[in-house]
Amino acid sequence: MNKIAIQKARLLDPESDMDEIGDVIIENGKIAAIGKNLLPPKNPQETQIIKAEGDLLIPAPMDMQVHVGEPGEEYRETLPSLSNAAIAGGVGDMLLMPDTNPAIDEAALVDFQRQRGAKEDAQIHLSGALTKNLNGKRLAEMALMQKAGAVAFCDAARPIQNALLMRHAMTYANDMNALVMHQPQNADLAANGVMHEGRQSSRLGLAGIVWAAETATLARDIALAEITGVKYHALQISTRHAIPIIRNAKKRGLRVSCGVSIHHLLFNEESIGPYKTFMKLMPPLREEEDRKALLDALSDGLIDVLVSGHNPQNQEAKRLPFAQAAFGSVGVETLIPAALSLHAEGAPLNRLIESMTAAPRKLLNLPPKTLAIGMPADLTLCRLNDPWTLEAKTLRSKSQNASLDEYPLKSSVRLTIIGGKIRFEAKKPDK
């Protein structure tokens, strides 16, 4: 069977402004036909028919911030385990962060990761380091890495403190029209903080990270982006106070964008409860007011992309006193179900999908993937109303440090098609 027919799906593609019930026929890895009531296939034995029954069919989304352990820390996550996790979560494309061991800071390493990643079902895109060894001191060889295939540059979630170096990095990257990404955080203000500075840190007796640590550096970055003209992307904003800064920069026509993590739209500082280290994230989970403001900003498009920030950590790194535990949560496998769950809280479906499909692809200058004839058949079928509760131990990732453990999700992924082949199909629930 080399054809797949998906019947009666809700075809949703923000890029082509499509939201209708229809059929899709897939042949030779591409979308061969799309429309209402397509004729039944002539040779049914050659066609696999999928009855979508109104489930949501979208271009396979992209997760624009994913940390991996290969090379160097394969016990956390390998490229194959990452790809399996992504596909099971309906994610077709990922942008990897360069904070491996060694860091992806030269062309040979970009090449290594690219070749390793090419074997996997999920499509893997690479970001190279902005500075050598991610230590914020010397520029990395961006032009060579770009030639080897890096599509953006950042020091992963490590903030660059030296403003002059940042200016030079931006100036240099702009010559190559490369996207500079950064996690804005002032290290002096953040000091030894391990969570949001506020009510919960006061109660728990933990050192906090004040919101101004984010906005101080974000404002600096935007000033430097203005001087240099570079395309600048703040990886994740976490505080409501960052929103007017981004809004103002966009209003002035600067090439500035930003992301938010799904965890910051689902949880707040209270979620840490009695020192839950799976809720220790960078940037930290902030207040309920921040969560709501971020969700609104994503809904109205001010925040461009929604990411998981997938950061696998093994048990040894998390089963520690809170201050000593590693930052991060896995998330690539739950990004889409969790994102769709936000629709129930009022976030427009169109925008949620766009923030994981067209928006990241445009920022990274990747060819579009839409629901149109001739497009690659990279598609995800999701069920909007399908409540289930995540058990972290069932995740395909090598690490189970999921903030979403035991979280009641409202939506699920039924099917992932990459290159015209079904790579994941959810098991039918046992009756």
Partner: protein, 322 residues
Amino acid sequence: MINPKPKQNFHHRHLLSTENLSAEDILFLLNLADQYVASNRQANKKHKILRGRTQINLFFETSTRTSASFELAGKRLGADVMNMHFASLSIKKGETLIDTAMTLNAMRPDILVIRHSEAGAVALLAEKVQCSVINAGDGSHEHPTQALLDALTIKRRLGKIKNLTIAICGDILHSRVARSNIHLLNKLGANVRLIAPSTLLPPSTEIFGVEVFHRMEDGLPGADIVMILRLQRERMRGTFVPSEREYFHLMGLTAETLALAQKRAFVMHPGPMNRGVEIDGALADDVTRSLIHDQVEMGVAVRMAVLDALSQKATETKNQSA
């Protein structure tokens, strides 16, 4: 003889914080401790309540008085007490923390008394072991037995805690003693005030239900108890307060500043003191105003009461499961 009220009065398996104790729990422990004060003043201080039980004091952070107080409390109740002190740096950060606890757990102790430099570390260990755990201080989070002994000290001197005005002064931000005291004193109906420079206050003091002042002359008037916290000298590197000299100028308790409080106000300090930094040496030694030695005495009695209460609970549990 020690006559605790009906034994089902204390339902906790561990003592990890004062935040999750009820006023009844606190009063139960204070009443029990009161009896141990009397017992400790007799020639024969020994009881059999913990005979055959094993208590391990596991200190991941240096301590003299708390560790000694717990050791004495356990021994006076007849327990076999073992002290283990790990200089924090000799253990590679946290790495063996859970392993250490699991190893000790396998030796079947009945009570673990744990101090650790990180907030939440004691609760983390309590999840992993089968015995009762007492928090002897976790980072800047809580130090519940200190708050209980402070409450006992106040109650015995002033006859009550309800409606007293108690000023906690100094480095609140980093103080586990302050957090435990705030929760406990609030539950018993005291009016709690915090007095500190803003750099040494937690960012969200509003969650504690207290009044906040930044100058001693504003916060002391009307105070029945002035609780002075130790200024941790490692905070003195110029980012929280400029110098010890300046700190003493603003926050140091002297006979003159104490005169701003109630006429018969008492002074307390969890120790160890920095004389001349947060408290004037002569004032600390003035037995008519200072309760510092009472606090140490009450410490042993309170810890005996806690050990007693937790062992009652443990016996119940064991009998039920048998």
